[in-house]
């Protein structure tokens, strides 16, 4: 994957799998990946999306009331 990616740090795995379900329903590709150590000490997963999808992805999660932190890699 040579594309640029961003990750959305969620507050828990339950929230991450909900985010994944919502993004897929909205037709956006995403992947659950382990949280990069330099971003958080948490041991769970975060949601990786293509950089070009970030603008579409964020409102989907916000509309569902999900809290997240956006990090561009």
């Amino acid at each position: 994957m040579n594309e640029h990616h961003a990750v959305l740090l969620m507050i828990s795995t339950s929230h991450a799998v909900r985010a994944e379900a919502l993004l897929r329903k909205a037709g956006l590709n995403c992947k659950l990946v382990p949280v990069p150590r330099h971003l958080s000490s948490d041991c769970g997963v975060c949601v990786q999306v293509a950089q070009r999808d970030v603008e579409q992805a964020c409102p989907v999660l916000q509309a569902a009331g999900l809290t997240f932190e956006l990090h561009e890699l």
Partner: protein, 388 residues
């Protein structure tokens, strides 16, 4: 009749048998994705977390909950009820409940009463039915919560949840519903019926395994005090319990294999058709009630009309203790039921069957007309023996 030649009429305790797909889903989960949901980032952990999320989403959809993340899993409905009652009520609050409650509501309330919570128990009619006006009459300025069962676990009487939900809204109180006896087969929608807290079990009318259940927390509920603290796999850098749903109430590893089975049970119900399964139970219940009513010495409890009740039937046979009847049904006829007080002394007081208790015959979707006929023949024979 089951493959074992038994007539199982204890479905109000737990439904049996379970659909084969439940067992298959649990076996598949154990062999293919039984890692810890929410604790690690590898593929099996993520797969397990997805399964758990699918169950949350399915339950939220089923019960009209606002958000799957407001579905909190615990071991059973009792844990859900305890979380709601102990989590919400404080000294100085007032709570209204009914005379048909199970001890899973009554015992937490009696414990809270000792801590300064005011408890009013609304009397129900002799058939277990509840008049919403009687609930209205008990409301006070400090009434924080109305806690009620959706249906009696003793005699099946359905209680008017939507009417009480409207009263609670108008008064600014919250409504907690114990849906242990109904969740799955009987319509219940948190938004439509004004339910703020819904305690459910997975192992009765949702046809999942034991060890599944919990509480759905409606949007009007701010924060409940957690029953327990511990690891959640989230906010791990902090030694304090996280404050967000569902993690704040789900410390410790979830029963993910049980939840995988519950999801299969729910999908099975949808495929078979909830309404036709409920109609099947109601038809059998009508036959059972009509047959029992004709047997000399039988006293029935609860409403006669199948529309006003679940398929749980309570009766006594004159001259016999409930335990004698239960033992005879089991040993001589292979009919399995539950006798006694059914963890619901308040309900038996309402029905007039305290402290003796009653014989409870609770039907499930796998019962047949032949089961009902065999049961009626057995009770008729017992009745004849007592009279001669």
């Amino acid at each position: 009749m089951s493959r074992l030649g038994l007539v199982y009429l204890d479905n109000a305790a737990t439904t049996w048998p379970k659909p084969a797909v439940v067992r298959q889903a649990m076996s598949r989960f154990l062999s293919q994705s039984a890692a810890n949901p929410g604790r690690s980032g590898h593929r099996l952990a993520v797969e397990a977390a997805r399964v758990v999320y699918q169950v949350r989403a399915a339950l939220a959809d089923w019960f009209g909950a606002p958000d799957p993340l407001r579905v909190v899993f615990g071991s059973n409905a009792t844990e859900g009820l305890n979380l709601a009652l102990h989590g919400l009520l404080r000294s100085g609050d007032h709570v209204v409940t009914t005379g048909m409650e199970h001890n899973s509501v009554m015992r937490p309330l009696r414990a809270l009463e000792e801590q300064g919570v005011g408890v009013s128990v609304v009397a129900c009619a002799a058939d277990g039915s509840l008049d919403p006006a009687a609930v209205q009459a008990c409301l006070r300025s400090n009434t924080r919560l109305i806690a009620m069962t959706h249906a009696s676990n003793v005699c099946g009487t359905l209680l008017p949840v939507a009417e009480v939900g409207a009263l609670a809204r108008a008064h600014g109180a919250l409504l907690l519903v114990d849906a242990a006896q109904t969740a799955g087969l009987y319509p219940l929608d948190m938004q439509r019926d004004g339910v703020d807290l819904l305690a459910f079990t997975g192992h009765k009318s949702l046809y999942g395994p034991t060890g599944t259940g919990g509480l759905i927390v409606g949007a009007r509920v701010d924060a409940l005090r957690p029953l327990k603290q511990g690891g959640t796999g989230s906010a791990s850098e902090r030694e304090q319990q996280p404050g967000f749903l569902p993690d704040c109430y789900e410390s410790g590893t979830l029963n993910a294999v049980g939840l995988a089975g519950l999801l299969a049970g729910m999908q099975w119900l949808k495929e078979r058709g909830v309404e036709s399964l409920r109609a099947h139970e109601q038809r059998l219940c009508t036959q059972l009630l009509a047959g029992l009513a004709e047997i000399p010495g039988v006293q029935l409890y609860g409403p006669a009309d199948a529309e006003r009740r679940t398929a749980t039937v309570a009766f006594n046979l004159a001259g016999c203790s409930p335990s004698y009847v239960g033992q005879q049904l089991d040993e001589r006829y292979g009919i399995l039921c539950r006798v006694g007080l059914h963890c619901a002394p308040a309900a038996h007081r309402t029905l007039g069957s305290f402290p003796t208790g009653s014989v409870r015959l609770s039907l499930g979707v796998f019962n047949s007309q032949a089961d009902v006929q065999r049961t009626l023949r057995a009770v008729r024979q017992l009745s004849q023996e007592v009279q001669h």
